[in-house]
């Protein structure tokens, strides 16, 4: 009987029920999209912030270099999401006796980490994988056998090889021939350096990497956890968080998050209000049903239960449909703004469901409270 009443109520007053459901669905959809976005936006922005480069640096104690397996060690201790680039430094001299800092690195890794580097052409990117095998041969023949591709900082290029001709550098008696394949521009210290491939660098100078720049992706806690693991993995080296990057990121992220939070709250409240207005009108409109039920002898509990159940069902259906649509909207926003899909957060669903049912219940109970005080006869007479 109860169920039949519910179904008949929905079927007979299709128009009004559909309008109420529509309001419910739209409100739930907007709320879902906003909450999904709020949860996801931090992860999305963090990825954007990682293009600022390393947030942690592992530096060997002065005058020493890091153990040979350091890079693998970093990757195993802070996970695969992390980008790590080794750097080694030496001061070499040109033929004219000018000092210049030469750095050895892994070009393909550096390119991924330091995306702001403006490079005219990256040297031997494809070969870096196989250089290990080559280097063992070439070290047998002597390091200076063949010219090596190098990435030359803009200011270094202007000072050493303005016409982009190959040049010679000497470090502690051993000489290397470098071809300035590409020019690097960063606007900072890198502009005065010359970058060569790590294995070539090691053959020439015998200096192993002393610095590993690491970009740990994730929340503040995850980064701190990563730092602790790195400290544990490198007891002899210094693990330094790059405060400039970490604090700038935290600052901007917090402000953005608070703004989105304020907006989400406002939007969810507005949509709840919209549902409330529609549903109150709907229930109020049906005061005749209410009066007839009571006139036919229905107890107060039954009538209240009937209206509450109706509201709850409406809220639940609205929440499910709205959730599906809201996820779609959130995914679209992710594509449009971040060019990356927003992962659907199903953890949002319980909140949307409970919220929808709660709003629906409130909007059913409010008018009933008003109606209860009125005699059924008065309502039926149309007063």
């Amino acid at each position: 009987m109860f169920l039949r009443m519910l179904i008949r109520a929905a079927v007979l007053r299709r128009g009004r029920a559909a309008a109420a459901l529509f309001a419910m669905v739209v409100a739930a959809a907007v709320a879902t999209a906003m909450m999904n976005l709020y949860v996801d936006v931090q992860a999305k922005l963090r990825t954007e912030f990682r293009s600022y480069g390393a947030n942690v640096v592992v530096v060997a104690k002065e005058g020493q270099s890091l153990p040979a397996d350091s890079l693998a060690n970093v990757e195993s201790s802070v996970g695969s999401k992390t980008r790590a680039v080794p750097f080694s430094y030496a001061v070499a001299r040109t033929k004219e006796g000018q000092s210049v800092v030469v750095a050895g690195t892994d070009f393909s890794r550096a390119r991924q980490l330091n995306r702001w580097w403006n490079v005219s052409r990256w040297p031997n990117l494809r070969q870096t994988g196989s250089t290990l095998a080559q280097s063992s041969e070439s070290s047998a023949q002597g390091a200076a056998a063949k010219p090596v591709n190098a990435l030359v900082g803009m200011r270094a290029a202007a000072a050493i090889s303005p016409d982009r001709r190959p040049f010679e550098l000497t470090f502690q008696g051993s000489t290397i021939q470098l071809i300035p394949t590409g020019v690097l521009q960063t606007g900072a210290g890198e502009d005065s350096r010359i970058y060569v491939d790590q294995s070539e660098f090691q053959n020439w100078t015998g200096v192993a990497p002393s610095t590993i720049e690491i970009a740990i992706n994730g929340s503040t806690e995850e980064v701190e956890q990563g730092i602790r693991q790195l400290v544990h993995a490198f007891p002899t080296a210094d693990v330094r968080p790059v405060r400039q990057i970490m604090e700038g990121e935290a600052n901007v992220l917090n402000k953005t998050r608070s703004t989105i939070y304020a907006a989400t709250t406002l939007i969810v409240l507005t949509s709840a209000l919209c549902v409330l207005a529609t549903l109150i009108g709907w229930v109020f409109d049906r005061r005749r049903d209410f009066a007839i039920m009571k006139a036919l002898g229905a107890s107060e509990r039954l009538v209240n239960g009937f209206f509450a159940a109706e509201a709850a069902v409406l809220g639940a259906i609205g929440a499910v449909l709205g959730f599906a649509i809201g996820i779609g909207v959130a995914v679209w926003i992710g594509r449009a703004n971040f060019h990356a899909p927003v992962a659907p957060r199903f953890s949002v669903f319980p909140y949307v469901l409970v919220g929808s049912i709660l709003v629906a219940l409130i909007s059913a109970v409010l008018p009933i409270g008003l109606l209860r005080r009125v005699q059924p006869a008065l309502i039926l007479r149309g007063e």
Partner: protein, 439 residues
Amino acid sequence: MFPRLVYESFRRQSRRKLLAGVAITLGVAVATAMIAVATDIGDKISRELRSYGANLLVTPQEDTLDVEIGGVNLKPPSDGGFLNEADLPKIRGTFWHNNIVGFSPMLPVTVRLGTGSEAKDVTLVGTYFNKPLHFGKEDFTTGVRVTHPWWKVQCRDGSLTSPGRGEDLPAACGWPDDSSKDVLVGERLATRLSKKPGDAIEVSGLQLRVSGILSTGAAEDDQIVAPLTLAQEVLGKPGALRRVYVSALTKPQDALAVRDPKTMTPEVYDRWYCSPYVQSIAYQLQEAIPHSHADQIRQVAQNEGTVLSRIKGLMLLVTLAALFASALAVSAAMATAIFERRVEVGLMKALGAGSLSVAAIFFAEALLLALIGGVAGFAAGSLLAHQIGRSIFNSQISIEPVLFPIVLAIAVFVTFAGSAAAIWRAVKFDPVFALRGEA
């Protein structure tokens, strides 16, 4: 007759009108607040992004290569070019001087600490902390406390002080005064030398006082940071400095920004020059400081644009969602209000009113509601935006006066659109059924 009908409707059904009015007010308030925040968010986030530090670097035009590894300068001290300290205030005279948040000069000098076999080369960097300067009639202060907000100084009582933000920085514990003989010692260097805040330190024959221990997470942790005049004294070159870090508010770069100013036509050049691109500000700095070369620091400048445009895009979409939600709330309230008045419509029609005149009455009522709700909502929304600005960004969110007519127009449009369907249905309804109450 017509105005009286509308007036009476408001007088007699004040409760219902109040409900609809409240819905419109709330909807407009949310919309106003969101639009105000969204239009201002670019400027606000751009200021927050300045916490990444300087985005421009000015160096001498004729300079030798920097030979620096891990913060230790290996370049001979008198080698290379210098900039003139007297030229610095001219930065305030450039076209975009209002966009320049701050600048700090740097003069690294290699000094020898200790004696005999324990002697060690350490870099002493001279800079401004919070230096008062004049340009024309304008007084301003600038220095690392503005351009390097992540620097922290450990003070004598052990507490850490941030540089502080805002225009006038108070004298914070630990930060040296620019005219004193106080210096900051980097935390790793301090551990090595076992220096505490308040200790004396001798550098190249000068007796200095360690006012605080500096922690930056970068090369400065191994250095001594001193007032610029002190570093010039050590080097024996008064008025000299090596480079200037400039922190400026910029516009995300586009196709125009990256063009070479030399190849531009005069109009394009003017447009480029008068846009706060990082490139055009660099160009103007170069004009202002003789024999200098200014360039963007790509790590900061390039990423700034991306982050800024992402956040702006996000806020745009969120604002659209807010507008949509408030439009829906207003429509729902209006539709409910009109639907409840079927009997009234039936009566009017039974007395001989045409559909047009009935609709006109409803639309007039809706217009009145929209205008009242719009004005109240705009006021409430401005207040809301102000609160959001204060609590999140610690600064005012400016509300453009042009927003007022726009918001009002939106309010009227949404109210009309929301009412139209309900009015249509009410007018089409057969008066007989409506009067018998069979709706």
